[in-house]
């Protein structure tokens, strides 16, 4: 009673009152699902909703030797790495330009950022109409220039690069804005000192801007890698995973294993493996970040 009347007692009571819905919510929607998924990954069939059989770690053993899973993973790694590099490099260049004295910089910034806030459903629709082999504008432009045309999304060798290009198109603006904010927070006197020493614009960019942006680059790389690793919308909406599984990325493979083949146990194991990969990527990049930033 005395505790409740003290300031700290009342604060604690209020804190627990406020936190109780949050504790309930995060338990039900975050911790419980992960526990259930781990449990389900030890069963074959449809644990929780139908017939299933306990098979221990069989699903994991199978996943590691399954050629389709391995292919999907390699494709996803290519997708994530190329997508991340392909987004960050142009975004950095654009940010370096737009952080400087450029006419209409605010408007240009907003326009380049705009695709980022559009649903991928609309993005996919627009690009599929542009890339359409018969009626699309891209092939028409290429053939009028005398260049070879392509069936972009239906040829195994071009499908994945095309999907990567579309995701880059959508994501560039976000990375650019984050870079601009970071560049603007670099102290001006560093550049002034470099000017006094007669440094060229190029030297200033590579010796001051780029190194000081390392934390920003790592932040963007982590979130971009994680987003790409679990991206389902891009392959689902642009190609449906085809042609000949050339764009069947890991997330799409898990989704179809779970919701089309209803192989819940196996899909849970695949999902859990992805969680482990994501945790490793995050941990590695943050370790690198800590080392880099401590100068």
């Amino acid at each position: 009673m005395k505790f409740l009347n003290s300031h700290h007692g009342r604060q604690a009571a209020f804190a627990y009152l406020v936190l109780s819905p949050a504790i309930l919510y995060f338990s039900v929607y975050f911790f419980y699902p992960i526990a259930v998924e781990l449990w389900a990954s030890f069963f074959r069939g449809q644990p929780l909703i139908g017939d299933s059989e306990f098979t221990g770690i069989d699903n994991y053993v199978q996943a590691l030797t399954d050629q389709r899973v391995r292919d999907a993973f390699v494709r996803t790694a290519i997708f994530a790495i190329c997508g991340t590099i392909g987004t960050l490099l142009p975004a950095l260049c654009l940010a370096a330009i737009l952080a400087g004295p450029v006419k209409a910089a605010t408007t240009i910034r907003a326009i380049i950022f705009f695709p980022y806030i559009i649903s991928f459903v609309i993005v996919a629709l627009m690009w599929k109409s542009i890339l359409d082999p018969y009626t699309g504008i891209l092939n028409a432009v290429l053939s009028s220039l005398g260049l070879p045309t392509q069936n972009w999304l239906s040829t195994p060798s071009t499908a994945l690069p095309t999907i990567i290009a579309v995701t880059i198109w959508k994501d560039i603006g976000y990375a650019m804005l984050i870079y601009i904010a970071a560049i603007q927070s670099i102290p001006k006197d560093l550049y002034e000192a470099a000017d006094v020493d007669g440094a060229s614009a190029r030297q200033k960019f590579f010796r001051i801007t780029v190194p000081l942006l390392t934390p920003t680059t790592l932040f963007l790389a982590v979130i971009s890698m994680i987003a790409h690793l679990q991206d389902l919308s891009a392959p689902y909406l642009l190609t449906g995973g085809g042609p000949a599984e050339a764009t069947r990325l890991y997330a799409l493979h898990v989704y179809e294993t779970a919701f089309v083949e209803l192989n819940i146990g196996y899909a849970s194991a695949l999902s859990f493996l992805m969680l482990i990969v994501i945790l490793i990527v995050t941990a590695l990049q943050f370790r690198f970040l800590n080392r880099e930033v401590s100068y």
Binding site: H8, Q11, F14, A15, Y16, V18, L19, P21, A22, F26, V28, Y29, F30, P33, I34, V36, E37, A40, L48, I49, P90, L94, I97, T106, A110, I111, I112, F114, P115, I117, I118, S119, F120, V121, I122, V123, L125, M126, W127, S129, I130, D132, T135, G136, I137, A140, W169, Y174, I178, I180, A181, Q230, S233, A251, V254, A258, F259, S271, L275, L279
Partner: protein, 278 residues
């Protein structure tokens, strides 16, 4: 010497503007092409040569399309789902953020660590058990089934906490000495100072949820419960190569995002830059 330098910077700035023009056109062209397609007749579409400016503007596509799918319902659904989630975030995130920023209670560190650990459990990984959970609750194909998995986020709570921390604790202690309850301190002292960050939170949450595609794809089975995103895919597969009609659907469903962006453009850019600073 000066003259040479000027010439060089004029050259660099020409290249700069060419690069910028390229990216601006690249960003805008697909939208322009979508609107152009939506106004084309079948004759234009199958003329063998892609048309950028329609030979005649066929506005009738915009009437035809309305009979093929319940667009109004899709738009209402998107607003109910994204709006509902945004309201829940505005109710809970600042309040919980306040508790973690300013209150002293046993177990605080542990609970904060547990909260941050949920950032490592992305939605995709939880999707299969969440589907089963939603089915067990009988919430498949309902608004609550679509809203609840996104009702709170550690990211939003963390962001609010970062903005509440700088508020002087002396101010809160003074209010406590005057006998104000914790709830009153939150309502009267903390909340009024959170205008801009809460607007940021609302904007980012709304847009993110408005574009959500995966979860509705998994839990919605009827046509009437579809939000814009999955509503459009239904349509896309039905008229596969009739790009003029598909583009009309895309153009209609793109209007809410466009309006939101045009009116809040400045704010959008600031929001993202602000959230990235953290």
């Amino acid at each position: 010497m000066r003259h040479v330098a000027d010439q060089r910077s004029a050259g660099t700035s020409l290249i700069t503007y060419i690069v910028l023009a390229f990216f601006v056109i690249l960003a805008l062209f697909p939208f322009f092409y979508m609107v152009s397609l939506s106004l084309q007749s079948d004759a234009d579409l199958f003329s063998g040569l892609p048309v950028i400016i329609p030979s005649e503007l066929q506005f009738s596509n915009y009437l035809t399309i309305w009979e093929k799918a319940p667009f109004a319902r899709f738009i209402v659904n998107s607003f109910v789902i994204a709006g509902g989630i945004t309201i829940l975030h505005l109710l809970f995130d600042p309040l919980i953020g306040y508790v973690f920023a300013k209150l002293v209670f046993p177990g605080m560190r542990f609970m904060f660590a547990a909260l941050l650990s949920t950032l490592m459990l992305p939605f995709f990984i939880r999707m299969i058990p969440l589907y089963i959970l939603t089915a067990e609750l009988g919430w498949l194909d309902t608004y609550q089934g679509l809203i609840m998995p996104f009702a709170m986020s550690a990211y939003g709570i963390f962001m609010m906490r970062q903005f509440i921390r700088p508020i002087p604790s002396d101010l809160l202690d003074a209010a406590r000495l005057d006998g104000a309850s914790e709830w009153r301190i939150y309502r009267a002292v903390v909340l009024p100072q959170l205008g801009p960050p809460m607007a940021t939170l609302a904007l980012l949450t709304f847009v993110f949820q408005f574009n959500e595609f995966l979860w509705p794809l998994v839990v919605v089975s009827s046509v009437e419960m579809r939000p814009i995103t999955t509503g459009l895919t239904l349509f896309n597969s039905e008229f596969f190569t009739q790009w003029n009609l598909t583009a009309t659907g895309g153009a209609i469903l793109f209007v809410p995002s466009l309006l939101l962006f045009v009116f809040m453009q400045r704010y959008f850019v600031q929001s993202v830059m602000m959230s990235g600073m953290k």
